[in-house]
Amino acid sequence: MRLADTLRFARDAATSYPMRTTLSVLAMSIGVAAVVILTALGDGARRYVVSQFSSLGTNLVIVLPGRSGTGGFNPANAITSTPRDLSIDDAASLLRAPAVKRLAPLAVGTSEISFGGRLREVMVAGSTSDFIPLRNFELAQGQGLPEEDWNRGSSVAVIGAKIREEMFGNGPAVGQLIRVGDRRLRVVGVLKSLGQGLGMNTDELVIVPVALAQAMFNSNTLFRILVEAKSREAIPEAKEQVMNILKQRHRGEEDVTVITQDAVLATFDKLLGALTLGVAGIAAISLAVAGILVMNVMLVAVTQRTGEIGLLKALGATARTIRLAFLAEAAMLSTVGALVGYLLGQLGAFALRQAFPVFPAYPPDWAVIAGLGTALGTGLLFGVMPARRATRLDPVQALMRH
């Protein structure tokens, strides 16, 4: 039989049993749609987290006071009990490291801000002029912190968008004097609104010079030192140099932890990648189930059409012809199912993106290819068995059941 005839014959056979055909197409399309939507969800989560982390800054190396737990028990630490603090001078000394492009010390605390009788609690970040560019923040008005001696904090502040709105309404903010804690500060800049992200919410932040923040909170320690390496390749070098300089300054004790954004990112990336894979695995199982359903449908078809198979044999059809006809039918059912499922899945992902615009719910290409491939593969595989059974039927026996 010619290929075109085989396909037409299979199509007519499929469409003449609408219930059976609809069921198996439905099963297959649900399987494929599940793969597309679930992996879109998983991969969307991964991309969301990755983009959030990337927005922290580029090529970041972060210094934390204290030894991380992974270093094991150190008797020296046990005696000194509290690790040595990070100081502004520690931060300044890191500028010596050749792999470091720029850095910003960071001291944080909460305080109260007031202007014109309005009062609210705020998060205060003490840092230096490089903090804003290093964290990829942008200014809506005015300018950032001044370039000055880090140990001499002038009385200025950069405020978040929401603080500006609450304190000043529609009035001008830049140039106004506000009170933060017991200090009077001049507003020099306003940050652009970024919305809620990972890390701190900049909309409700007040940024002041680091020395001023330390004086306000009556401490001389830093919460973090944010270091930007010269390039992505320089990150490990920068980490090493930072570690060495601080070790030297702290009398040979490794009492700080240096983490790189890359490492954190890679961990999350791996974790969420695994999640996506797991989800895809579950979806693949549903696909296999759909394949088995197609097989059952085809087995029923073979039984239902036993008489027809006998007739075809009587009319001179070879085993191959009959096998191909049933295989073509199974292939059609799963192809249509796969395509319908793909469209449904893309529609679902689109709906997800409409509902949650921040969430990039796009199915990854590999998942789409694997989903469609598995659908067609299982459809064909599970189509083979009924097709073989159809050809093994004895023509007389088959005819008698017509």
Partner: protein, 229 residues
């Protein structure tokens, strides 16, 4: 020349513990162009014989020569080829494919044989005209009368221009009048040279054939070709 040559044919069915001898020690020779009626009581083995002749079934023992070729030893694919090119079937219950139109049912053997659709169409058109089915080309079997269905079935059986037409009670599901029409069609085919073997319960129909075989208990009880007198 003998078209069909059966020698020592046995067909034994195994039903659980019991064995049924549907055909026993059957010898039969049918010449090219003959018109043969097979008669006999129910269960005497008429259909079994016809199925064997049509290569739908294999004998348990014996040899079957079709056109001087031993066909019992052919592979399934070779047998399919013989069925496709040399044999046409007409069944009591028509055996049309319900989802296909009359034209498509007639074209089915050609489609299975891989004949291009252009040639198929012209041959189907001619067949529809020959069998008075021009107005019914696009009707499905359930939209046809019994007589029309059987005419479609005969058109289908002859479309590959076979040497042998096997009809198992072709008028069994038809009234007298339409049955006669169908018989005339088959006889016209026979007149054009096609060998015709008809199984029937109807003595009048059997009498029309030039040669009558009467079966009983799986063997030939009477063959008018060798009848005494």
């Amino acid at each position: 020349m003998a078209l069909i040559e059966l020698k020592g044919i046995e067909r034994v069915f195994q039903l659980g513990d019991s064995t049924v001898h549907a055909l026993t020690a059957l010898n039969l020779s049918i010449g090219t162009g003959e018109y043969v009626a097979v008669m006999g009581p129910s269960g005497s083995g008429k259909s079994t014989l016809l199925n064997l002749l049509g290569l739908l079934d294999r004998p348990s023992a014996g040899s079957y020569q079709l056109e001087d070729r031993d066909v019992t030893t052919l592979s399934p694919d070779e047998q399919a080829q013989v069925r496709s090119q040399r044999i046409g079937f007409v069944f009591q219950s028509f055996h049309l494919v319900p989802r296909l139109t009359a034209a498509e049912n007639i074209a089915l053997p050609m489609m299975l044989a891989g004949i291009p659709s252009r040639e198929r169409n012209s041959r189907v058109e001619r067949a529809l005209a020959d069998f008075g089915l021009e107005q019914r080309a696009d009707h499905r079997p359930d939209q046809l009368s019994g007589g029309q269905r059987q005419r479609v079935a005969i058109a289908r059986a002859t479309i590959m221009q076979p040497a042998l037409i096997l009809a198992d009670e072709p008028t069994g599901n038809l009234d007298r009048h339409t049955g006669d029409e169908v018989v005339h069609l088959l006889e016209a085919l026979n007149a054009s040279g096609v060998t015709l073997v008809v199984v029937t319960h109807d003595p009048a129909l059997g009498a029309r054939a030039k040669r009558q075989l009467v079966m009983e208990d799986g063997s030939l009880k009477q063959d008018s070709a060798h009848a005494p007198g």
